[in-house]
Symmetry: C2
Subunit: 515 residues, 2 copies
């Protein structure tokens, strides 16, 4: 079973993933959670109450563009497009909170309909939130005023494959497994496998600068994109006439990561590669995270890099492998032939090859971790993840600072957490750090987490990391992002938005602060 | 002798390169040129006449920032900062044309002085042209109004080396050989060797998205930059807290390639690598350019890539190697161990290994080709280069279209040209094409070339290439660039400039059209 055989999952809000898949918290984990003070809450989820949406006149304006059958205004459809999958999003969903619910959902058929929708929305002062997979975990679907969601699921085509250039043109609404299946028919893979793979889409990957689990081999999504088409309220922007160019700034990199604030990406031209004929996954053990970090850095700087390279810290290794051999676990995966030279580097750096079993165990479970969060929330645990990246020399201090900030902020609230961490993306000059936080929910878990999250953001800023390596900005990181790039750069971005979206209807409140 | 042993060349306007190096046109080449109708012109270069520069009050404003000894207003200094090294630049220089001469040259000591200079220039409505190596070949030093040149040669320090992250912080005024020499003391190389290496600078590499001859192994300069500091009339912008980030658009890629229109890059943080212990260069012969193109594409797409990979077409091979074996010549270079697997790919694709001699001949002469242009101009030849890039599937048609446009435009003027071409930069999805054009000068060689250049630009646009792969936009490609990115993207860039340079003093007329 490879990624192209996986089904697309139509995500439903409030609980991650395929509704057919049921995950239970293992009994030993439950016992450990009780030690942290986790108690099952007495009250369950609350159903949302409907509230008025668009006026009939406003609905008619949308229907004129996409057809009445492609505009939804009922509570079910609107609630199914409410927020993404951050823990605060899930908690608000459980509370039946409709404050971020769209007023209507439009389903355009193609680029021209997206363009026309944006034009009429600008004309009628209707805010627009682009929606593909809906997998944001940073509040990327929560506009600061009432809005129309533009769901891109009908833009689901592989438009072109160029075998000579090894590029493919994919529409924005193609979901991860669908992209792989479409490309597999031509013998290719995109090689982009983020944890949100089952539900996330090409447009979302591009808009949020996604990075997948095979980034060591295939690069980030923003490195795969060689061309893109952007629909804005003022017209179309098409970029990318060559792999690289010295004709001015690389404007593709201005649109990638713009999170719908400058326009809606309707298609991208991506670099594709032949499907590998073989794949290998292995586990490796190191005595300490420090030793493992040196090993993965050696591979990132001097090679040969595998396709997948991940390193858990002691806490994450202990939680995920309570019966393991201690130390820390690295996962090493190869698309294509096994590279003995990679193993040599790991061995020389003190690594012990645990063989294919632990590697395969990771591969099989690679998209399943997020499924566990919902039953954990059911049990009364607060579980969330956050991530950053930095240059290698700052990584140890960055990890320590974020961990300390989270422990302090949650312990102060009477809910000492477990903080787990791993490196999942490496570069010659640095790496990402991904944190998982688990503690007991208190009576106000959204506030409880906000307090911890702000402490982590401050620690990241002070330790010299970036506020996000691959989750994006959304609303959750807006202020931290503004601080990271500084007031002049933020003003420049607002000026770009002012040109492309002069009425300010596109994703208001996402990515950019208002001043 | 490696790149770090080469001296920095203080370029002087009007003739390329080290004044100590004298290059003569070989007699057989001269005979061939006579066949093209090339005749030595009767008149020689004209000395420039001085014209009034800044007022004493304006000079005092600059002197207050950098000190009177660091402001030059004499004709010699100003003439030495007039234009770059395109053939039209050289022809205007020979004509003693002072129309693009700066009114003064200021030499700031550091970032803070650059910042202060920009502030006072904005306040006093003095246009500013940043200057480091001065090696533009696209009219990048010819502002549309009278101006002060800010020469960054005093910003010549290696500020920091981070051995763990493998990064170095270099000031903008460090020239290519100086950067290599500074890094060599720490055991590192930047690996950036453009043909302008002897004179070009770090700041220019960044501002113009330079790409060096070792790009297959080390990447483009914009891929080496992980952080940068920009001085603008409104203050400082600092970017790059991690190798990669999902925190919004990659704004580094908005500054790289901005050619001084948004601010002056005063330092960059670049990825560095250990100096290779060995290097190998080889020549390879293919029967046709088409066969060679398939071979280099295979390496770019499936590897293993060498460090240097170039492929001349039949015409270029014949001109450069008149006694050779015909066909086309590829140059393959390795920093570090030789890769037999690369040779296997080339052999399988029909390549014939010509051995180290022709590879070494290329290596030794790699920076010497531009030296030949001046004596050729002396002899009455018109010689110029231009370049583009595109996706692999378009490369053959792009090459044919540009060649045809050049031949037609120059033949129509009674001066049929030789057009030579090579691929010097490869990517998974495409490659660059570099053209050299030689014909007889007519009575108005600047107009003669403009006619040909516009025809080439139109051919590039129509065949789907980018207007520049590594030379940049300057003034020469301004209109073609605006057409390439379209009116909305161009307006967005003007809005960015409006924020960072509200008085419009930075490099007016470079990069962007006024509407």
């Amino acid at each position: 079973m490879t990624e192209s055989d996986l089904p697309v999952v139509q995500l439903t809000p409030g609980r991650w993933g395929d509704p057919e898949v049921s995950v239970e918290v293992p009994a030993p984990a439950l016992a450990a959670l009780h030690h942290l003070g986790v108690r099952r809450p007495e009250s369950g989820p609350v159903d949302p109450a409907d509230r008025p949406g668009l006026t009939p006149q406003q609905v008619a304006v949308l229907a004129e563009v996409v057809g009445a059958e492609h505009v939804a205004t009922d509570l079910t459809a609107r609630w199914a497009h409410t927020r993404g999958y951050s823990t605060p999003d899930l908690l608000r969903h459980r509370a039946g909170d409709t404050s971020d619910m769209p007023d209507a959902v439009a389903f355009p058929a193609d680029h021209d309909e997206v363009l026309a929708l944006l034009a009429v929305c600008a004309e009628h002062d209707l805010a627009v939130v682009p929606y593909s997979g809906g997998t944001s975990v940073v509040g990327g679907l929560a506009a600061s005023r009432r809005f129309v969601t533009v769901d891109l699921r009908r833009l689901d085509q592989l438009l072109e494959v160029d075998d000579i250039s090894r590029t493919a043109t994919l529409q924005a609404g193609v979901r991860g497994p669908a992209a792989e299946a479409l490309l597999a028919k031509h013998g290719y893979t995109l090689g982009h496998f983020p944890q949100s793979y089952e539900g996330a889409s090409i447009g979302g990957y591009a808009a949020a600068r996604s990075s997948g689990q095979s980034s060591a081999g295939y690069g980030r999504f923003d490195q795969m994109v060689v061309g893109l088409t952007l629909a804005t309220p003022r017209g179309t922007v098409e970029l990318g006439r060559a792999p690289m160019s010295a004709a001015g700034p690389d404007l593709r990199q201005l649109v990638l990561g713009s999170e719908g604030a400058f326009g809606i990406i309707t298609s991208v031209v991506v670099r594709i590669r032949p499907r590998p004929e073989e794949r290998h996954f292995e586990g490796w053990r190191f005595d300490t995270f420090e030793a493992g970090l040196t090993a993965v850095r050696r591979l990132a700087q001097d090679g040969p890099l595998p396709t997948v390279l991940r390193l858990s810290d002691e806490a994450e290794t202990a939680v995920n492998h309570p019966d393991g051999a201690g130390g820390v676990l690295a996962i090493v995966g190869f698309d294509g032939p096994y590279k003995p030279a990679t193993a040599d580097v790991l061995t020389a750096a003190g690594g012990q090859n645990l063989g294919a079993e632990s590697g395969e165990a990771w591969r099989v479970g690679r998209y399943k971790a997020p499924y566990l969060r919902d039953p954990l929330l059911d049990e009364g645990a607060l579980v969330e993840t956050l991530e950053t990246a930095g240059f290698w020399s700052r990584i140890p201090a960055l990890k320590a600072a974020v961990t300390e900030a989270l422990v302090k902020a949650l312990s102060e609230q009477g809910t000492p957490p477990l903080v787990l961490c791993h490196v999942s993306h490496v570069y010659e000059t640095g790496a990402s750090l991904y944190f998982t936080v688990i503690c007991a929910q208190n009576a106000e878990p959204i506030d409880q987490w906000r307090h911890a999250k702000l402490a982590a953001n401050a620690a990241i800023a002070e330790a010299g990391g970036t506020i996000s390596h691959h989750h994006g900005v959304g609303t959750d990181h807006r202020e931290a992002y503004a601080a990271e790039i500084g007031p002049l750069a933020a003003e420049a971005l607002r000026a770009v938005k002012g040109v492309l979206d002069p009425e300010g209807v596109l994703n208001p409140g996402i990515l950019l602060t208002s001043s």
